[in-house]
Symmetry: C2
Subunit: 345 residues, 2 copies
Amino acid sequence: MKNKATSFDIAHMAGVSQSTVSRALSDSPLVNKETRDKIKQIAKELNYKVDKNASNLRKQHSQTLALLLFEDPTSDDSLINPFFISMLGSITKASSAAGYDLLVSFQNLNDDWHADYEDSNKADGIILLGYGSFTDYEHKLYQLEEQGTRYLRWGAPDQNHPGVSIGCDNYQGGIEVTKHLLQVGHRSFGFIGEVGDAAPEFKARFDGFNKALDDVGIRFDHNNQKDAISTEQAGFEAAKSLLENNIPDALVCASDLIALGAIRAVRSKGLKVPKDIAVVGYDNIQVSEFAATPLTTVYQNTQLAGELLVSNLLKLIKQEPVSDYLMPPELIVRESCGVNQPVER
Amino acid sequence: MKNKATSFDIAHMAGVSQSTVSRALSDSPLVNKETRDKIKQIAKELNYKVDKNASNLRKQHSQTLALLLFEDPTSDDSLINPFFISMLGSITKASSAAGYDLLVSFQNLNDDWHADYEDSNKADGIILLGYGSFTDYEHKLYQLEEQGTRYLRWGAPDQNHPGVSIGCDNYQGGIEVTKHLLQVGHRSFGFIGEVGDAAPEFKARFDGFNKALDDVGIRFDHNNQKDAISTEQAGFEAAKSLLENNIPDALVCASDLIALGAIRAVRSKGLKVPKDIAVVGYDNIQVSEFAATPLTTVYQNTQLAGELLVSNLLKLIKQEPVSDYLMPPELIVRESCGVNQPVER
DNA sequence: CTGAAAGCGCTTACAG
DNA sequence: CTGAAAGCGCTTACAG
């Protein structure tokens, strides 16, 4: 059935050498315009496509990028953090625009890092995307480093860790939501989300949160911070435990998914959002807009992020210098912070 | 910097021939256990990885699958239908479990089908995923067919179109939501979603909807069906135009995204869901659970779908016979149909 | 502008 | 059980 044409077949039909075919097909100015057109014509008729494996082998690069997505293990596979999905989309777009294919792999943090894309020449570079316990994969970063792998990380740039990072300014984002809550009149706060070294993004948001409170002379009681990984369920449980001891004016959540869970926890106490407690999230995932109570949140420009990630990885591959980059966050005000008019329902 | 070891380097160090190295690394029983272990040991120390390009070229297959995702062009890139995302996740998992890498590409229906993965030997087979105007890409299917490409389509099996399809029984799903609405006591209906040949999934849902009404002797006035592609905005507009002439008991929507827009339209009329009008969707996307009014919808088992898609494509690649498959749908009842107790808020 | 030739790094008959 | 050799289909110096 499938009997794919090779460059030799075309050479034969065009009455030229195989080298000439190869040149013509890559638009080499070396070959005569007429011959070139003729060759292209034949190639088209035969539905000829350059064999990537052969071409990559010869050229020693693959024209493909690999995206490694890792997350805290969750029971439900379909619950991939929607923020990453959005990133996935923009990275796919950006790499295709740059003429690269994209290999996608979901990695469980517990797994061995078996997908040695770059080592096996399947990809020219790797993009690392994921929340989760940083400490769990930190050593893998060193391993990549040691192997000379070209890779880029989405997340908070950090002096203590290897590699280049592109991320959103989580510290600033934390400041901005909190400031807004303050302006609206809230005075006592809870923070939901883990803030250890394992989750630098969340920690930065928390630091920003604290900074904003400090600036107006409010001292945050750290008993009002509860750890939660970025799932609705974790948010629900953490918020629930927090609310047992104390009912603050507002709950600042480290992610939208957490905020959704927190809202559920508030409701389960018979309280209302935002009337009794304001809740804010982070990420501006799609649900945040359509949720029971539309979420005030912080938007990270995923479009731009994808482009930045790809263009910088490409630079890295070309051995050009690349440095960390921090994108500015953008506050999005909706109902859940208690300032907008609640929708009639 | 990067000076990757080859099988020759290892052969040299182990004092054997390169062929033996290759055999040992692929666990060939032909090579002596001790030699094999020694070779593996050295390979590990050198962080050697088989060059995929060379190996694929030689073996004439790539051990990778390609996923082509296409959608109606929408202005916002981040608005990928969440249902597909879920499919993306399960397909990635399934193909990695089968030892295949996954190449992902978003295709705009307007684009040329430039990503000739299989033709260029980058992938052994292709999975086609997308809603959208079927007629727009139908000819491309014939093209794939003609080229002998191994591909599988997610969607409604259809006698008139080429290729094998794996899909969910949309007809049955349409019957089930509608039956449920009938049981709850609704008697007059609107249907939002395009139902032409261009959208066979939606059409099947619509046909099921009609069947369920027929069965209880209700005649559906086709003026109460309004076209909409699968976006919140389209749903909003279609529902709005429908409600101008007529306020039915219930709105059956061809997708959750459409249903979300329909709910917004109902609200904009000053009416309430489900009190004044019930609204149901289709897909069970994540938002449907957390939406202002949790959506009654139809669940398509994406986990299973991903596995089915991958395993059947693999069969196709192995030249084994494959046939269309229809998964059973699953009704999920939440508030929006007006049967559950509204959550206290 | 074109061709003959080498070689990318493997896998796998073929021969022993 | 092991090795020498061919060859997968290209790209690109090298020579003309």
